[in-house]
């Protein structure tokens, strides 16, 4: 016989996969909003994106508002 019950195990630490996934989200998001100057879309659209700075314009106001250096 066996029975199931719910117990709480709170060992400090994070599963590796969660750590990697969340660290990636952190770096990616910080780069896009705080630092990107049009590099990201250039992968898709080529050099033209550098001139248009799509992401930069879209994240521009938040960059100022959140305290990141800008223009």
């Amino acid at each position: 016989m066996s029975y199931s019950k719910e117990i709480t195990v709170s060992k400090s630490g994070v599963p590796k996969i969660a750590l990697v996934a969340l660290a990636a989200v952190f770096v990616f998001g910080l780069f896009v909003v705080g630092y990107d100057q049009g590099h990201l879309f250039s992968v898709v659209f080529g050099e033209q994106a550098f001139a248009d700075l799509y992401i930069h314009e879209l994240t521009h106001d938040m960059r100022h508002a959140a305290g990141f250096p800008c223009h």
Binding site: Y3, K5, S10, L22, F28, Y35, D61, H64, A65, P69
Partner: protein
């Protein structure tokens, strides 16, 4: 720990707090950005770089509408990003944070991270509205800001290690304060002179601090409530009888 549940509530809370941040910015920060960009426009007309024509304003308003709409999207992206860091730090510190429920723990951590990775870097490198920054110094300013956030964040982790090992806990706080004060004077300041009007700068900074602070409060509160409700630490255990 239920890994996917943990990731899901971390992302959801960061995303939600970020959207709140973006929405709040539309009301609180955008008026200052409009004023600052208005000054830039005047300067461009004065130097002949742009002409004060109906065409200019049509293009200007569609461009600004695009930028303002981006507040929400950028808020969601930044919120999810910062929320992810928050979730990782929470996972490592959840058993030592004060409080008998998760809302208290997440609010305590939000307060600590708000001070170490936002308030202290802000004191050294305060936010500026458009027209202040010199494009020539952008890489330097970005490097300095990120470096100061990293220094403050890692110093907090380091002095926490000390805190755990010593009896006089206060010394760890004094140590962190002394170290950051030293770094404050060691690190070079923002090289750009501020030529914009004083009340524009201060109004912008106050609004910016308020909305970022609301973000941290919301991020802590939402993750605390979600953790309390769904508890990723709860696992089914099958015990043989």
């Amino acid at each position: 720990m239920k890994t996917s549940l943990f990731i899901a509530i971390v992302l959801l809370s960061g995303f939600s707090a970020g959207v709140i941040h973006g929405l709040l910015n539309l009301f609180m920060v955008e008026p200052f950005l409009d004023t600052a960009i208005g000054i830039e426009n005047k300067n461009m007309f004065a130097t002949g770089e742009a002409a004060d024509t109906p065409d200019f304003w049509v293009e200007y308003y569609s461009y600004r509408a695009w930028q303002k709409g981006g507040q929400i999207l950028a808020g969601a992206i930044l919120g999810t990003s910062v929320g992810s860091l928050f979730g990782v730090v929470l996972a490592y510190s959840r058993n030592v944070l004060p409080g008998n429920n998760f809302v208290k723990k997440t609010l305590a951590l939000a307060l600590i991270m708000w001070i170490t990775v936002y308030v202290i870097p802000f004191v050294k490198y305060p936010a500026n509205p458009p027209t202040v920054g010199d494009p020539e110094t952008i890489v330097l300013r970005q490097t300095l800001y990120l470096a100061f956030i990293a220094i403050s964040g890692f110093a907090a982790v380091g002095f926490y290690q000390l805190y755990k090992r010593i009896d006089k806990k206060l010394l760890a706080f004094i140590g962190y304060g002394a170290f950051m004060t030293a770094m404050f004077f060691v690190m070079p300041g923002n090289p750009d002179p501020i030529t914009a009007p004083e009340d524009l700068i201060s109004g912008f900074r106050i609004s910016s601090v308020i909305t970022v602070s609301v973000f941290w409060l919301a991020a802590g509160l939402i993750l605390g409530v979600l953790w309390q409700k769904f508890n990723p630490d709860k696992i089914k255990q099958t015990t043989p009888q």
